[in-house]
Symmetry: C5
Subunit: 333 residues, 5 copies
Amino acid sequence: MITIYQFLNGTIHVIDLKELHRSLRGESGVIWVDMENPTEAEEETLLLSIFDFHSLTIEDCRKGSDPEGHLPKVEDFGDHLFVIFNPVEGVMATEDEEAMFRMEIRTSQLSAYLTSRALVTHHYTPLRSITNAMQLLTKNALTLGKGPDFLFHFIIDDIVDNYTPILDKLDDAIDSMEDEVFQNPSSKSMMRILHLKRNIITIRRVAVYQREMLSRLSRGEFELINRDEMIYYRNVYDHLVRMTDMADSYRDIVTSLLDAYLSVTSNQLNQVMKVLTIISTIFLPLSVITGFFGMNFIHLPLANWEYGVLITGVFMVVVAWGMLWLFKRNKWI
Amino acid sequence: MITIYQFLNGTIHVIDLKELHRSLRGESGVIWVDMENPTEAEEETLLLSIFDFHSLTIEDCRKGSDPEGHLPKVEDFGDHLFVIFNPVEGVMATEDEEAMFRMEIRTSQLSAYLTSRALVTHHYTPLRSITNAMQLLTKNALTLGKGPDFLFHFIIDDIVDNYTPILDKLDDAIDSMEDEVFQNPSSKSMMRILHLKRNIITIRRVAVYQREMLSRLSRGEFELINRDEMIYYRNVYDHLVRMTDMADSYRDIVTSLLDAYLSVTSNQLNQVMKVLTIISTIFLPLSVITGFFGMNFIHLPLANWEYGVLITGVFMVVVAWGMLWLFKRNKWI
Amino acid sequence: MITIYQFLNGTIHVIDLKELHRSLRGESGVIWVDMENPTEAEEETLLLSIFDFHSLTIEDCRKGSDPEGHLPKVEDFGDHLFVIFNPVEGVMATEDEEAMFRMEIRTSQLSAYLTSRALVTHHYTPLRSITNAMQLLTKNALTLGKGPDFLFHFIIDDIVDNYTPILDKLDDAIDSMEDEVFQNPSSKSMMRILHLKRNIITIRRVAVYQREMLSRLSRGEFELINRDEMIYYRNVYDHLVRMTDMADSYRDIVTSLLDAYLSVTSNQLNQVMKVLTIISTIFLPLSVITGFFGMNFIHLPLANWEYGVLITGVFMVVVAWGMLWLFKRNKWI
Amino acid sequence: MITIYQFLNGTIHVIDLKELHRSLRGESGVIWVDMENPTEAEEETLLLSIFDFHSLTIEDCRKGSDPEGHLPKVEDFGDHLFVIFNPVEGVMATEDEEAMFRMEIRTSQLSAYLTSRALVTHHYTPLRSITNAMQLLTKNALTLGKGPDFLFHFIIDDIVDNYTPILDKLDDAIDSMEDEVFQNPSSKSMMRILHLKRNIITIRRVAVYQREMLSRLSRGEFELINRDEMIYYRNVYDHLVRMTDMADSYRDIVTSLLDAYLSVTSNQLNQVMKVLTIISTIFLPLSVITGFFGMNFIHLPLANWEYGVLITGVFMVVVAWGMLWLFKRNKWI
Amino acid sequence: MITIYQFLNGTIHVIDLKELHRSLRGESGVIWVDMENPTEAEEETLLLSIFDFHSLTIEDCRKGSDPEGHLPKVEDFGDHLFVIFNPVEGVMATEDEEAMFRMEIRTSQLSAYLTSRALVTHHYTPLRSITNAMQLLTKNALTLGKGPDFLFHFIIDDIVDNYTPILDKLDDAIDSMEDEVFQNPSSKSMMRILHLKRNIITIRRVAVYQREMLSRLSRGEFELINRDEMIYYRNVYDHLVRMTDMADSYRDIVTSLLDAYLSVTSNQLNQVMKVLTIISTIFLPLSVITGFFGMNFIHLPLANWEYGVLITGVFMVVVAWGMLWLFKRNKWI
């Protein structure tokens, strides 16, 4: 589905391919072409015939149909800039009670061409940021009027804003994981922590690549981005710096949680071993005492005395208490 | 609450907005505007209408109402410098006996604009460093007279000085943690060490960001900072270098403490296991001996002999002592 | 075996050494010489006499007969570029059921000389990428017509594409390893994980070296690579960036798997210890009870009472159940 | 205590403050002023009034009264260079038998000003390197005659030489620690290793900072250091490179020792567990056998037979030996 | 022992000090002076009087008598280059069965001066690479005729080639260590792995320093090295890159081996614990059963029945088998 917006004389029109041709031959007006899940024919007509973009970039655009898409990059072809961006979506498997720790982070791909008068965006799945940009255009025509680089900044700013809810969910998951580890560690905790860690690493990696790209876009390296608009790109860059910083903290915490989990389970082992030791240490001697008086000797001491059993019983209780007292003193209990 | 100081002809006056207008149109005098928890209207009037700062910076200022605020940064807009700084506060939960290890390190945000004639500071919570600067002005008008960059240096120097007590508390906590780990490790030690570590990482991160910023401020990168005053900024930079250095040491020590803790608890397990082994190794054979003479055979050896019990008892003691001697020789006790 | 292709006036001919001589003296036409497992004499004739390449490069070419070959590199001799590339092959030991985890990654060596009019490739084992390039030439003569640097780009692109199936196999191995670790860890898991890790490190290292080289080839550092074709080299570079990125992820995951494996086996130990503790804790006291009533005292309580055994039996069951209840309450089971 | 040396016309005189004034107004002669534990008045007179050094440097000098002093740095004020250096001292607590592992590494601070004609050194505690320099002056006046930068090189070279005995002691401690870990590990080993590690990290950090500074001094960055003398500074730099290199090795070894210690104690646990298992596995079955024949059944087999006990005893010995043989075969002993 | 070679008019002569003097005053001919274990007088005559090298370099030469020698470095004094190189030797303690893992890697020092017409080499122990170079000279006078930088390249290339057998031995040791860890781990394995690791770190460090130096020599940084010969230095650099790369792999593998060893011993503990648990779990209940029927009650059930013992015996076997079956089902055996 191809949608084409033209800003001319202060208003915005949705135009078709023929008008696009005419508009590009004309000398004024700003154009935004959005291609959602286009056919190969459409790609070739628009990107090669009408806009004359470099043929290799189409191959990169088509990587967008892969599950993960192409890594972010920006390439300068003189009269046009080719940019790949990775929107991110956190998908929870809701039928699973482990949902929080099993959130899958899916990256998709938005390819964009930026010329002095036009912005062309290319993606396979519908993107919320593109829809938002379209709604904004109906409200405020000037968003496009300020040039394609301003509109493009709006779209990537919106994409980056969509990272925030995912980071928030990871934050919640870390908090509940921390409670679990210290209060109720189970054999599943390890797997959950590893899933959390992998999610954090994924989102961090995406953010880092994006950050590097934004850094280049906001440094004035590309002439197609207006010097006045660079500050807006700098703003998106700042968001991404903050996000990678948060992802770094999360990773530190999760690594500590792993250590904590191992320590807690090792403490449990210690605890269990102590119980075993105490039980053994109390009852093995008692067992020997009863065994002693169970021997079939003729002259077994105490055996024929009326209070023998009583004395022996008291002795056994004394031994047991003595052992317990020893443990208390050595702080083993 | 907006407070405006004007230095003119060697004295300092507190002026209102109208006078500020007039003063800025005039050609001499240095101005300091402090905005504490301002309304949105005040922000727009002052920052946009009166001073004509870049509109994007206001968004950054408002991040100051978030719990953690914006990361430190410095941006040069030609006629003004926009700086964000992170004052730090260590809050102890005093109702909790774990207070020392649960200190929460809270960062807030101080946004500042620096022009050739004015300093504008913007923050939401009251800041001790701002109050200190105001008190200094009443004592020594020249602090402002030397230019807004000199006053600004004073404020950030004071902010950085406030990091010291927090580092000291962390130092104390590390010392008492070290004693705890080696002399009285408990199952809570792990959690405490992790809290300590996280606090150290937090303060380190804040200091590192600040240090990078100060490095740029003290390098002569910005024309709005006087070449003669750069040495003062270099001084603040040195403080921050020392602080990150200390935080690095602390982190090393705490990581070692974690290792030590794990080793100590593993040693305790070893200890407990040895006790169990000794007890079992002494009493299991004795149990078999008593069992042997408890068998209901007709021709049980020794059974009908008068000193059978005595002999058997002595034999049991010998076996027990033999085992203990074996352990001693093998250094298991 | 030496094969020589000449592109002249739009068509491609396979020529012999004599014609090669003539062609090089002529002023037009593009040449591709492929040397597969050449003799030393052939090497010297072609590389030194006919082409006059630097004599040290022959030594590097001959490293290709070593199992691992020379590390990738690119050297500029002004009128020719000398490039070493490492094709990679994943060899599975199919007779071994561990095949998946024991895949051996073999690197070989492709040496290439690039001049303004000719490409000379040198390798010992037959390479699929070379065969593919030859097939392409029969279909599309222009592949060579566009210049030796275009053909060379095609060959290394094909080599890099061959990394993908190996990465896919590693991905599969990681997935099945993950299942094994969490569901059915055995004493062989450790060794398998280590093998996987080493494979990942190997492929990553090869890709990193290649990436660095491609980065230089695509940056316009060498004049022998046409500015228009640099974008194709950039494309290969992008593939390698993606591959090292994937290898990095794999390494992270495998390292986590190691931790997980250690944690899982430690959990198993915990489990076994708990069973031991429960059994001991239930039966040691019972043993003492039976021992008590097995003592040969005259006045053993209950001994002469009709229901003594019943009472004692019930008491033993109560003790056992009480112990179990205690474990349940403390969540030890 | 202030000592002032003046080199004039080939000889050295100790002069007082008045003569210093005159000498500085004069046009020839080289001066060395050493301030040991000066009063604040002396500092201000000398550093500010007489030499006119930058006032902020005094604050840095005074950090020298702190236990650790200021981190090394070098600052160029055009007509003078301000340098901070950290002499190091290894203090052993001799009353403690743990002395070797408890050596405390104390850093102090030497501040120095270098002008074209004078060297001013400032320190609180007496420094051996300063004393050595003074003794050298009495022997060889030319040490000062070659310029203040030559004398300064001599002092810092001497300071760096003082690191060597500390590194040697650490080397000895590592060696004896290695023996301890593999032959006689105790519960104190962990603490000792951590102390060693911390000492190594401390000396490494000091050396690294110094090295970075020397690197700048020897690179020709500062005009006050003569190009001919740079090679001497380069020499000191080489020493520091070697020292950090050694400290790095030491740290690697100590980290390995930690791993080794943990492995050794874990092996001990393994050993103890094996003994426990062997004892239990031998005596628990024997206990059941004796228990079997201790049952009060009428028709107990063998019970009324003369050789019953003998047979049973032999059977018990066979069972015990069988168990032991099983362990031997499985290599558990 | 000082040996002096002079190349003049196409032939090589061994000359004495007097002739050296004359030759240096002359305007043609290339000189190689080798000093093996020279006296201090010889050093001063040759290096200071005849060649006029910088005096500080002699101090560095003399570091060669230390066990480890000076770290590699290269210094440019304009008319001469001073280079320190570290030949390496792997010494095996053959009387020790641990030889393979206890190989000691000894570094020595080769100092060299390179001028436009002469090469001066200085070393204390006899070096194979020097002998090789001398033998080459007798065969091919042009080796010296091509200039001192060509000869020097030959010597360091030979030194670097001597690293290969050591790396091969380490490779063998790693392979046999890997078998040991997975098939026959003993308490000595840990120590062996640590020794291996330390050897690898040593050789890697030496190679890295050398590599950095060669990188500078082959980059054209020094005018005394002919631009045409730089490619030969580049070749040596490539060897060292490959060696550090191999050493890196070895280090990775050895670190993995450490993990594997710890995992294997931990698995052994698991195994031992399982045996203990199984034995206890089978025999403790049996013990209680026999104890039950050993009680001295009058109305002991089954006691007076003829088949009581048989029933009880069968019951005990059933209990034992039930336990074993339970273990099998839970995969504990």
